[in-house]
């Protein structure tokens, strides 16, 4: 069940980066804005596979060099953690765009009202912006979750033991390729269908209190 753990972890990191990135893009200074634009454009234009390879090798190498420069021991970075971080970084770029769009969709008056009440930016984020943008962001974020579960398969190529890689190993030892791939496909499909049910529940919950068909 490594696949699900990676997907959940990467998705969580992705959303955190997304929230930060969206705020940076909307309210940050010109330099922050340009840098974030560069980040989202680059990550979304380069294939995930290439990014995973680049970040996987470059990331572990950089951390080790940094540790050596500080006079520490080299550490062996856990494949699971590296996978989560790399996929989270990729997801973050997509989440940034989704959340930015969702925040822009909030009626401006709500944010102005919050400011007029004298809320601090953090309080406003927690009480107004995040809950108000949720209904607009959920379709995009749901898509991202489904992409995250499927992107875990890509980690098979860097030799990480998740569902797809395990399947191939099992299939090649037993020579029953057809059966094993069919079973793995069914598992992925079940994750997707199950997620769809949960997502529609969450969407209903996030839309509570909104006039139907108002968006």
């Amino acid at each position: 069940m490594n696949s699900i753990m990676i997907a959940v972890g990467a998705y969580g990191i992705g959303i955190l980066i997304g929230i930060g990135g969206a705020f940076g893009k909307l309210y940050g200074g010109p330099v922050t804005r340009d840098l974030l634009e560069l980040y989202t454009t680059l990550v979304r234009a380069i294939p995930e596979l290439v990014l995973i390879l680049l970040l996987y090798f470059a990331g572990t190498d950089l951390i080790n060099r940094l540790l050596e420069a500080l006079g520490q021991q080299r550490i062996d970075i856990n494949g699971l953690v590296a996978g989560i971080c790399v996929l989270g970084f990729v997801q973050g770029a997509y989440a940034t765009e989704v959340i930015r769009g969702a925040i822009l969709a909030i009626p401006q008056g709500q944010i102005e009202a919050a400011r007029a009440y004298g809320m601090s930016p953090l309080l406003m984020l927690r009480r107004i912006t995040l809950p108000a943008m949720l209904p607009f962001a959920i379709p995009g974020l749901a898509n991202l979750w489904l992409i995250a579960t499927k992107d875990t398969a890509l980690l098979a190529i860097v030799g990480f033991n998740e569902l797809t890689q395990e399947t191939r190993t099992a299939a090649s030892t037993t020579k029953a390729y057809f059966t094993f791939f069919l079973a793995a496909g069914a598992l992925y499909l079940m994750i997707t269908l199950f997620s769809n049910v949960i997502i529609s529940r969450i969407e209903k919950w996030a839309r509570r209190g909104m006039p139907s068909g108002a968006h």
Binding site: D34, L35, I46, L49, L51, L54, F57, K175, Y177
Partner: protein
């Protein structure tokens, strides 16, 4: 930089005076703000230092192979996008007007393909089906066998299926989104059903689907390196080969990323040109 700032001020003044007359050079100087110039200088510095300090001496040896790889990537992309789009039209259409069982079939096809990773589908077709075929003598004797033994038919097949499923979903929305009145008007003109489809329904649906089509095609480009895992030599496979043979870790990957960036840029630009040619007044 002083000139740039002056131009910014000029642009603002002319903007307040006659808002429609922000000319081209002023817009360029608005875009070229001081911090952007600094960022660009840093970027150029990074590129130059990468070109000077990193190892690029392997490029002449692999030049031909790399060009072949790019060609193969583009070829696979073009073939699968065209075939996938042709498949997506009926998939979308039967979900809107087709009989119940056909609509259900198309819907479950889309769900299954979109619910499983492309890598798994690719390996399923190549290793799974590929391992089943040799068991049947009549397949081995048929004219298809020379093709079935190679990797690329599986790559093209699985990428086509995947594109068809994603795009079929888009086309379903596009077909459903064409205004009913237009189709009724066409019927009232006495057009046959086929003619209505050809002249009214399909063109309007394609117009609607075009913006998403750009995104889907870029996603498809980003899916092509997966075919390297089943021994099709595309540009990604060439980069991996370079890394394995020369033990250079980063440079081939960076160049690979740059190549994909360029292809994406060209694709987006081409689709934007195409979109600009389409009339905006849609019903």
């Amino acid at each position: 930089m002083g000139a740039a700032r002056h131009a910014v001020g000029g642009a603002l003044m002319s903007g307040s005076a006659i808002s429609g007359l922000v000319d081209r050079s002023a817009r360029a100087s608005l875009w070229l703000q001081p911090h952007r110039i600094v960022l660009m200088l840093i970027g150029v510095g990074l590129v130059v230092s990468a070109a000077v300090f990193m190892r690029w001496d392997w490029i002449p040896n692999y030049y031909g192979l790399a060009l072949q790889g790019i060609w193969r990537t583009l070829w696979i992309l073009a073939v699968t996008v065209v075939l996938g789009f042709l498949l997506a039209i009926p998939i979308g259409l039967v979900q809107v007007t087709g009989p119940r069982w056909l609509a259900w079939l198309a819907y479950s096809f889309c769900t299954v393909i979109r619910g499983t990773p492309l890598l798994l589908q690719l390996w399923f077709l190549y290793y799974g089906l590929g391992s089943l075929f040799p068991q049947f003598p009549w397949i081995r004797e048929s004219w298809l066998w020379p093709y079935l033994r190679q990797a690329w038919p599986y790559a093209v097949l699985s990428l086509t299926i995947s594109y068809a499923a994603y795009e079929g979903e888009v086309m379903r929305g596009a077909f459903a989104g064409v205004a009913r009145g237009q189709l009724e008007a066409a019927r009232a003109f006495g057009m046959s059903r086929w003619k209505v489809f050809r002249r009214i329904w399909l063109p309007q649906a394609v117009y609607r689907a075009l913006p998403t089509l750009t995104g889907e095609t870029v996603l498809q480009l980003k899916a092509t390196p997966l075919v390297a895992t089943i021994t099709v030599v595309d540009i990604y496979a060439v980069a991996s080969k370079v890394r394995q043979e020369t033990f250079i870790v980063y440079e081939p990957l960076l160049l690979l990323a740059l190549i994909y960036l360029c292809i994406t840029g060209i694709l987006v630009f081409a689709f934007r040109k195409l979109e600009a040619r389409i009339p905006n007044r849609l019903g």
